[in-house]
Symmetry: C2
Subunit: 214 residues, 2 copies
């Protein structure tokens, strides 16, 4: 594949398209058009085709895209043809919401452990897992190959946890705390800031930009 | 201002920059460089300057940007110089997490009401608000000017709630359910799909893209 820099927004949309294609697969649909994909994902068909063009267009035929083929291709691009193993640190409401969220496991992200330092929370059963004392986290990481750490901690505790797991094989950190964290080079950090979504909405409302019409 | 199409990623970053500038203001910092903004927001200084260039560059002087001026400008662009009033519908773990999240109110998003249809949850006190029966939601919207509805409902209930509030003045809907919803034209819909963040991370890890080095 050519070394073209692919916009992150395209990757994010591929993820959304793939979820839509999963539903189509489940419903036994064989082929879809870019218009159908757009309609099912609040995108538009020109955008869908443009996103696909980065990867050679995925061999559309007269009748549309082959649902199974297209989804397999997209999942492979996204790196979802393997299982990613994750832990969640911080079992507040957000941590619990993520632990209960089945949208992760169905996409190949397996939550392997839940951690907190609150004695009230340690031992609590959440879905199929039990919240563990965060003091055993390093040992857990030594004994289990974990790729991704999801941090749903108060901002002031976040960096300390990142420092503690240095060298334990964590490849990516998804940080929900409104703070910038630093990890060793080679560890991918993604900060999820929920207020951003409201502020982009505020911008669009203020400037009368209708997202769906773009 | 020229009618240049500004990338949504730029708007999202402005939101993050502004949060950083808030902290600088609080700490009594007068001026910042693009490098400092980049470091504090996991961006890079070329990106910061490129984002600012869409708005004329914000009058950087030799010493850097004036923190207060810059933040006021960005907030005005984002439409944060007014109060946005929101309700949250669905008081599961995610709804609760958002209701307790003070990052919204400090940015001018005031949560005015919480709703659920579960008798176990109705009447529960969450922060300063009490969960209301979702049957009174329409009446609440008649009596209160609400701009934004945040939906943290199971996917299958989401569209029905959107249909019920049609014509009640809701300008924007932030939907956390993994389903595409439809509202009347002019209502801004943003779908927040938490799995997307993991899948973009999976893509970056698979293709050895280090986000912070970009």
């Amino acid at each position: 594949m050519k070394k073209v820099k692919i916009p992150e927004a395209t990757i994010a949309r591929l993820s959304v398209y793939s979820r839509f294609l999963n539903r189509m697969e489940k419903n036994g649909v064989d082929t879809v058009s870019s218009g159908e994909i757009a309609k099912g994902t609040a995108s538009n068909s020109a955008q869908v085709r443009k996103d696909f063009a980065y990867f050679g267009g995925f061999g559309k035929r007269g009748v549309g895209y082959d649902v199974i083929d297209l989804n397999r291709n997209i999942k492979e691009i996204l790196g979802l043809n393997k299982e990613w193993r994750a832990i969640i640190v911080g079992m507040g409401n957000l941590g619990k919401a993520l632990a209960y969220y089945h949208g992760f496991s169905t996409r190949g992200f397996k939550i392997m452990g839940l951690f907190d330092n609150d004695p009230q929370k340690i031992g609590e059963k959440i879905d199929t897992l039990t919240v563990q004392d965060d003091q055993v986290m390093e040992k857990f990481l030594d004994n289990n190959e974990i790729d991704i750490m999801i941090l749903t901690l108060p901002a002031e505790y976040t960096q300390a946890v990142v420092d503690r797991v240095e060298g334990k094989g964590i490849k990516g950190i998804l940080n929900f705390a409104p703070t910038v964290i630093h990890a060793s080079e080679g560890t991918q950090i993604r900060n999820v800031d929920l207020a951003v979504h409201l502020e982009v909405m505020s911008y669009n409302l203020t400037h009368s930009i209708n997202k769906e019409q773009e």
